[in-house]
């Protein structure tokens, strides 16, 4: 079934020694064009190339959620995504949550409910929560747990985080109509 005429681009790719790939994406509303090594993860692209250090690395294997970002509206673990997979994508990181010089309601509630201690897991939790509230402004406790259980926190015991998410959802429903 292989139609060889269609494969000229492919031959070019095979013949080439060039491993580098070019990547265009929008990060926190800013368009980025870069040429990168294809082995680079999205996490390292954000941290090492864009110097967006808010997104953390803790396990590098999809287990902990410290590296969570929102990619095309979905919360994902950026440590196990190749940067090049984000070609054409829109990415939101923790640095993109505050707008117009004001932190968001969600961030405010994390502060006031003390949903963080060391803070290392916090960016990941915020991004998972942001994606949750964007698709479900009024999540039940079970839905919150389902959405956030992929984010590990060793400090807080999660109860303060759960409270913060509930309060943020409530406030967002009231204040952001």
């Amino acid at each position: 079934m292989v139609d060889h005429k269609e494969c000229s681009l492919l031959d070019e790719h095979i013949a080439s020694n060039q491993r580098k790939v070019s990547l265009t994406c929008v990060v926190n509303g800013v368009e980025i064009c870069d040429t990168i090594d294809p082995t680079m993860t999205l996490l390292h692209f954000l941290r090492d190339r864009l110097k967006l250090f808010g997104t953390k690395e803790s396990c590098g294997e999809g287990e902990c959620g410290a590296c969570t970002v929102i990619m095309n509206g979905k919360a994902v673990t950026s440590c196990i995504i190749l940067a090049i997979e984000a070609d054409g994508a829109e990415i939101l990181t923790v640095e993109g949550l505050a707008k117009d010089g004001r932190i968001s309601i969600l961030q405010e509630e994390f502060i006031s409910e003390d949903a963080l201690q060391c803070g290392f897991c916090t960016p990941g939790f915020l991004m998972s929560t942001r994606a949750l509230l964007d698709r479900n402004p009024d999540p039940s406790e079970e839905e919150i747990k389902e959405a956030l259980a992929g984010n590990l926190c060793r400090c807080t015991g999660y109860l303060p985080i759960l409270k913060a998410v509930k309060k943020a959802a409530e406030r967002e429903r009231k204040e952001l109509k």
């Binding site: 079934m1 492919l10 095979i14 491993r19 999809g62 190749l82 997979e85 998972s128 956030l148």
Partner: protein
């Protein structure tokens, strides 16, 4: 990661197949939730990564009355979790999907990737197996179809030959009056690989199908056990009997996740719970 691969995102199936055939050490990339771990731990040495997410064939996710459900190779698990038709027609698949990894992972992990990775403990195969799923494969020789129960050949091994890739997995329409359930045991409530997972199905004709993972080198459909159960009248007594009988049909191992003894015991408990649930419920909603 020691691999220094080239990355290709083909625009059509031909390209993908040809590339995979031509180049050694080529790996298909779907969601990457298995592949990236293998790369990171240097368990594979990849020279080429073929990202199939751009292929239009792979995006198919459709249920057709009578024909059944097709899940393309780039369809992620959360899509299946959210699907109303899966919830009502294939409850075991819905439950298995909802139990796989974490929500974050399911935004990337694909159904087909879960099969192709061929992990003994993969959550989706038991549910797919009880629905007689068929795997659609494209390769240099064209297309072929393999029943899922013949797809796995060993730990992390499948029938896929060089140059082949899976386009989709297909499930027949179970029709009305079909019931199924997927139950799993793990070390905690949060994301964890299954210690044992059991899919139980009672077909409209009353026949039972059982799929199981993490008790053998591959996920299994327990045909011999089904046959024995199907010889009996399906009632609570048979269920209790089957829960004991299953221990003769599987030979789990002891590893870091569980002892063989606990796996045997859980296989028994989960089968009992699954079948009991199915025979005592009226509708077919999971």
């Amino acid at each position: 990661m020691l691999s220094r691969f080239k990355y290709l995102k083909p625009h059509n199936l031909n390209e993908a197949v040809q590339y995979l055939e031509k180049e050694e050490k080529s790996f298909v990339l779907a969601g990457g939730t298995d592949l990236m771990i293998l790369l990171r731990r240097n368990l594979i040495n990849a020279e080429h990564i073929v990202d199939i997410k751009g292929l239009p064939e792979m995006a198919e996710f459709e249920f057709i009355d009578g024909a059944g459900l097709t899940i393309g190779a780039s369809v992620v698990v959360n899509t299946v979790v959210d699907s109303e038709v899966v919830k009502t027609k294939y409850p075991a698949l819905h439950q298995a999907s909802a139990s796989l990894a974490s929500f974050l992972l399911r935004n990337r992990a694909t159904v087909v990737g879960n099969i192709c990775n061929a992990s003994p403990g993969a959550d989706l195969p038991p549910a797919l197996l009880v629905y007689d799923a068929v795997v659609n494969i494209a390769g240099p020789q064209g297309m072929r179809q393999v029943p899922l129960h013949e797809f796995f050949t060993g730990v992390k091994r499948t029938v896929l030959q060089r140059g082949e890739l899976v386009i989709s997995v297909q499930l027949p329409d179970p029709g009305d009056g079909d019931k199924s359930i997927y139950l799993r045991q793990a070390r905690l409530r949060g994301h964890d690989l299954a210690t044992v997972g059991v899919a139980s199905r009672i077909k409209p004709d009353g026949k039972v199908a059982i799929g199981i993972c993490a008790v053998a080198p591959t996920p299994l459909r327990l045909f011999a056990l089904e046959e024995k159960i199907n010889e009996r009248e399906l009632n609570q007594e048979t269920v209790e009997w089957a829960a004991e009988e299953i221990k003769q049909h599987i030979h789990p191992i002891t590893d870091v996740r569980s002892s063989a003894q606990y796996r045997l015991q859980m296989a028994s408990v989960l089968l009992k719970r699954g079948l009991s649930h199915l025979i005592t419920k009226e509708d077919n909603h999971g």
